[in-house]
């Protein structure tokens, strides 16, 4: 016996509804389930892509205003960097506190001098591009328009000359790309008032844990200013559609002039521990 026509229609609608639900669920699952990291023809994880220091997957993180003036509609950190307590030597700790008291007015980046990788990697305002070949990892930073060419399985040059970003050599440890960085100029600024010496030694570990997420972990060692190494971590998230643009820091840097006036009376901006404003 054929069922009544209206029942066939209802059953057809029900089946269509169920199918739509399944498709929506499958699409949502595909969007949320991390996809595996791509690999190169030699089987290594392929880091090629443009990333942003961020804790969120998807498109470029840019804040939009909310109801309260100056407060974003969605409160979320653009970048999340965690830092272990810095094991300063006593004199370095005193210097760091003085830097913080002076609200970092002497920061070299205020004069457009760029900083070492642990600092520029975590700046979530600017994209970072990885270009990978079998013999080199090339890292391009929009911030300050700087780059690093990291030879894979290379060695530091014998005629190493100190530089702001140091000399980098990389190697694969399983799926993690490990970069050894030495050869720094003294006086670089990292996090929390840490001013590094020519003995700075970085060990960076980059792991593309899935298609969207590249973990960054760095061990910072500097026996002249630290009693032991410490680690800093952040995540770099793939940002398809983003592109690197020019950042010509010295183009119209008015800050040194502003600072020169302020330094005539530092009491106008300095602070002390326990007084953050």
């Amino acid at each position: 016996m054929r069922p009544p026509t209206h029942f066939v229609l209802r059953r057809g609608r029900l089946a269509g509804l169920l199918l739509a639900c399944v498709l929506i669920a499958a699409t949502a699952l595909a969007q949320t389930k991390p996809q595996p990291a791509p690999r190169t023809s030699d089987g290594k994880p392929d880091f090629t892509g443009i990333y942003q220091a961020s804790s969120r997957r998807g498109g470029w993180d840019a804040e939009a205003p909310g109801d309260e003036p100056g407060v974003p509609a969605e409160r979320r950190p653009i970048a999340v960097t965690t830092t272990e307590p810095i094991p300063f030597r006593p004199e370095a700790r005193a210097r760091a506190q003085e830097i913080l008291n002076r609200r970092s007015i002497d920061d070299p980046t205020g004069h457009c001098i760029y900083a070492a990788s642990p600092r520029i990697t975590g700046v979530g305002l600017f994209p970072i591009q990885f270009v990978q070949t079998p013999t080199q990892m090339i890292i391009l930073y929009e911030y300050m328009t700087v780059h690093r060419v990291v030879p894979i399985n290379g060695k530091h040059p014998d005629d190493l000359s100190p530089s702001f970003m140091g000399d980098s050599v990389g190697r694969w440890e399983g799926d993690t790309f490990v970069v050894d960085v030495i050869g720094f100029k003294p006086g670089g600024w990292l996090t929390g008032g840490l001013v590094t010496s020519d003995a700075l030694h970085l060990t960076e570990r980059y792991t593309r844990v899935d298609r969207d997420q590249l973990n960054y972990e760095v061990t910072i060692d500097d026996p002249k200013v630290l009693t032991k190494p410490f680690a800093q971590r952040t995540t770099l998230m793939l940002r398809e559609g983003a592109r690197l643009r020019e950042y010509s820091c010295a183009e119209n840097n008015l800050d040194p002039g502003v600072y020169e006036k302020l330094l005539k009376d530092p009491s106008t901006f300095t602070r002390s521990p326990g007084k953050s404003k």
Binding site: P77, T82, P85, T109, G110, V123, R245, C249, N252, K277
Partner: protein, 136 residues
């Protein structure tokens, strides 16, 4: 045990805002805010900061030209701004930010309200880049 280790690890680390170009708190006072409206007289779409200059008329009719500082162009473009399109000289601009410590008509521009009512961020929040008050 594993949970205890995770908690201990989290409590021994600090989440930090990473500084880009310079400290906020050197030049600007986060304890005061400024909300004003005026007419744009000049735009510097430049690195490391974009500046907008705005003529603001006070209650007595006196006009003061404010210098407003914000993100570099690249960041503005990713925040929804377009050079020579989003704002132009002669446009009205309402701004919210934090004033200079020295009392001059100079401010860190956080949020701009365009003449059509659209609101966009122009600079980072207060406190960026100056670090914590105490060594951690």
């Amino acid at each position: 045990m594993r949970a205890v280790i995770v908690v201990a690890l989290l409590s021994s680390t600090a989440t930090v805002a990473v500084s880009a170009h310079h400290s906020f708190g050197v030049a600007f006072d986060a304890t005061k805010t400024v909300t004003l409206s005026g007419v744009i007289t000049k735009i510097e779409w430049t690195n490391p900061h974009t500046h907008v200059y705005v003529d603001v008329k006070d209650a007595s009719g006196k006009v003061v030209n404010w210098k407003l500082e914000g993100y570099p162009p690249n960041v503005l473009e990713r925040t929804g701004w377009r050079k020579d399109v989003t704002i132009k000289v002669g446009d009205t601009l309402k701004f919210f930010g934090w004033p200079a410590r020295d009392g001059s008509p100079y401010a860190h521009l956080r949020e701009a309200t365009l003449s059509d009512g659209k609101r966009l961020f122009f600079g980072p929040p207060a406190g960026t880049g100056e670090g914590p008050a105490e060594v951690r």
